[in-house]
């Protein structure tokens, strides 16, 4: 894991002092709300329906046990005892007070955390594949580059007042576990024919009002040019992105309006002028950062312990958890353990302070002190010995963190919605809860198989509904909550945007509608087809027929 050196630490400490002064100037009235708003947004502080909300950065989704304990403390002392993980691997606290913000940020700085640029028209948290460094199918660890990007993008003097927010994501292998194609810039780590590391660079992805899948702007960018190329992209965007219309200000619109060839030409011309300059990454610097992500002291485990298999056979609940919530680790004898924050009836992505502390202890005991956050609002313990999976599972069950539903129908992504968010038109959380309750039966979920349901409470799409297999978008129709349904979205390397099926469903009717879609899939699927495969084969018509057939 990256460890701050004295410079990194000094930056966050100075930032805290700077914000403390800005808060004081706001409370005294020296700064108006209009002047203060961009400043507080650059420190991740929103004013929502009921309260201020603080979005704390979790760079590329990696947390230490110590950091998780601090988040638990912040939840207890400054909030209402819980936090919420987001689709950008960050954590949100929904009940903070402006006057206490400097103290909260000071506490975060103690454990090398901050809320810098988690909002505002700036470069946001760079996210990465939650299995980085441990996935069996990885080309190279994307966290190394995510950390380099984090530093380059932090308090960048040229790019702090962009036309709109800017989000970068990386994935370390062929599989895209970080939804990179829905980002302003998506980076795939690649190797060229000579075995050198580089990136395929895609630009102009995004959800929201006008969703786009990112287009490749460069097939192979050598490793040492990562930052200079990003600088060229940002300079083109900063100069030419629209500033006349808030809804047309993202880079996806610029790419769409110029066309990818013309956009690429602008970037390449700018890049040509700077690529051999100070932004070229020296190998020694990449190596220095890479050293922070060195593998932990894994044991050499020649044969897996026999006990687990016997326990698995004896206990269907354990078997289910192993089947759905664990993933293959590159190191023999180890496993990746997913921690579901989608217990039936709970708020998706929420975690209580007690749970955070217990998980921190488990991470220390069983995962080299490391936890990951996924963009699907779950957590991961990335380095668990196979022989300790049973003990882990036993510990997770009473904590309510062992629901065996990763990737299944009740593993729903939902934004906070109208229960919390001032931008929302409708609530998402109760819909997610009711769908999860309707589909709660685990055998049924296993029969259905992989199904990603994603719910957003407004067009800003923080719930990523455009790339849900079933996507729901909350709308306000004459004061009532309705839900538009899209089908066939997908957030992996073969990304696709969902298609609207027809008129929106009422709050009463939407859960039935989702169930009807599931039933239709089960009726028409061929053996081995996941929901998304069936949808791609048969298209939306069979689903429209069952959803809207006259009775």
């Amino acid at each position: 894991m990256y460890r701050y050196d004295e410079f990194d630490q000094r930056l966050v400490d100075e930032r805290v002092a700077q914000f403390r002064d800005q808060v004081a100037r706001r409370l005294s009235g020296e700064l108006s709300e209009e002047e203060f708003r961009p400043l507080r947004l650059m420190n991740g502080l929103y004013l929502q329906l009921h309260s201020y909300m603080l979005r704390v950065a979790i760079p590329y989704g990696v947390l230490s046990a110590r950091q998780l304990r601090k988040l638990a403390r912040i939840a207890r002392v400054y909030d209402r005892g819980y936090g919420h993980f987001t689709t950008r691997q960050n954590i949100q606290f929904h009940w903070v007070r402006l006057a206490e913000l400097p103290d909260i940020l000071a506490e975060l700085a103690e454990v090398e955390m901050h809320a810098i640029q988690t909002s505002g028209n700036s470069l946001r948290n760079t996210t990465a594949d939650q299995y980085a460094g441990v996935a069996a199918d990885e080309i190279a660890d994307p966290r190394v580059y995510a950390e380099i990007i984090r530093q380059w993008s932090t308090l960048h003097p040229e790019f702090s007042f962009l036309p709109r927010k800017f989000k970068i994501a990386l994935t370390g292998g062929k599989r895209d576990r970080a939804a990179v194609k829905t980002h302003d810039v998506g980076l795939f780590v690649r190797k060229n024919a000579a075995g050198e590391i580089g990136f395929e660079v895609a630009v102009g992805g995004g959800q929201g009002r006008t969703p786009f899948i990112a287009k490749t702007v460069r097939r192979f960018l050598p490793e040492q040019h990562l930052v200079s190329y990003l600088e060229a992209i940002l300079r083109v965007y900063n100069g030419f992105g629209r500033r006349d219309n808030l809804f047309k200000a993202r880079i996806k619109i610029l790419v769409h309006e110029l066309g990818i060839e013309k956009f690429a030409a602008l970037v390449e011309a700018e890049w040509a002028a700077i690529k051999e300059g100070a932004l070229k990454l020296p190998e020694a610097e990449v190596a220095r950062i890479r050293a922070h992500f060195a593998r932990p002291a894994y044991e050499e485990i020649a044969t897996p312990p026999a006990g687990l298999e016997a326990k698995r056979r004896a206990d269907p609940a354990l078997a289910r958890w192993l089947r759905h919530n664990t993933a293959a680790h590159f190191k023999p004898g180890y496993a990746i353990a997913n921690i579901s924050l989608k217990a039936i009836g709970e708020v998706p992505g929420d975690i209580g302070a007690d749970q955070m502390e217990a998980l921190a202890d488990l991470a220390e005991r069983l995962s080299f002190g490391e936890i990951r956050v996924t963009h699907e609002q779950n957590l991961v313990l990335p380095h668990v010995k196979a022989g300790e999976l049973f003990a882990l599972w036993q510990a997770l069950v009473p904590l309510g963190l062992a629901t065996p539903n990763i990737g299944l129908a009740s593993d729903i992504i939902a934004c906070p919605g109208l229960d919390y968010c001032s931008l929302a038109n409708a609530r998402s959380i109760p819909v997610a809860q009711r769908i999860a309750e309707r589909l709660a039966d685990l055998e049924r979920q296993e029969t259905i198989g992989e199904l990603r349901i994603k719910i957003s409470g407004c067009i800003n799409a923080c719930g990523h509904h455009h790339v849900g297999h079933i996507g729901l978008l909350g709308v306000d129709k004459q004061g009532e909550e309705f839900y538009q349904m899209t089908l066939g979205g997908h957030a992996e390397e073969d990304a696709s945007l969902g298609v609207l099926v027809g008129p929106a469903f009422s709050s009463e009717g939407v859960v039935d509608a989702v169930e009807r879609v599931v039933e239709t899939y089960l009726d028409v699927r061929k053996p081995g087809e996941r929901f998304i495969d069936t949808y791609r084969r048969v298209g939306p018509q069979p689903f429209k027929d069952t959803l809207y057939a006259a009775h």
Partner: protein
């Protein structure tokens, strides 16, 4: 509007010429880009200092070839949220080799001064009661910088940051 240059409030010697105003023979004058483009030769033939003022959206490429003739370039921030001039400033300094006064005008607020300074501005029209004090404080707030820019601080191998103390 106070003008801050080199950390102190300074009198503005420059005369900002409206497009229709006749060009005086003497004295430092600042003209709009449109005027510069129409009357380039006449303006260059004056012996006195010349400045150009660019609006947001007027890319400095338009004056790049002539920067050595200019003693002042003023870049506008129509709203402080419009960040185009940060890029323009860096291009003027780092790409086009401009060495004259680079002035931030428009909605220039204390909390953007450090970013501006790092991008190459060295003069600021800032609407602030105690501008010199605000300037000093703003520049002292952060001393660690991850990005190499042309602000005079020595550049280190990226991304190891340079610090003001070592500068």
């Amino acid at each position: 509007m106070p003008l801050i240059k080199e950390g102190a409030v300074t009198e503005d010697r420059w005369r900002h010429l409206a497009d229709a105003e006749p060009v005086p023979a003497e004295g430092p004058i600042v003209v709009s880009l449109e005027r510069w483009q129409r009357e380039e030769n006449a303006l260059l033939s004056r012996a006195a200092p010349l400045g150009v003022r660019l609006k947001a959206g007027q890319h400095p490429e338009a004056i790049a070839a002539h920067v050595r003739h200019l003693a002042l370039v003023a870049l506008e921030f129509p709203k402080f949220t419009d960040g185009r001039a940060y890029s323009y400033a860096r291009l003027l300094r780092e790409r086009y080799g401009y060495t004259g006064e680079l002035r931030a005008v428009g909605q220039v607020l204390r909390d953007q001064l450090l970013f501006m300074h790092r991008c190459g501005f060295d003069a600021y029209e800032i609407a602030c009661a105690d501008a010199a004090c605000a300037w000093r404080k703003a520049l002292a707030e952060i001393s660690v910088f991850y990005q190499p820019t042309a602000d005079g601080r020595p550049r280190r191998p990226f991304p190891r940051p340079a610090t003001a103390a070592e500068g």
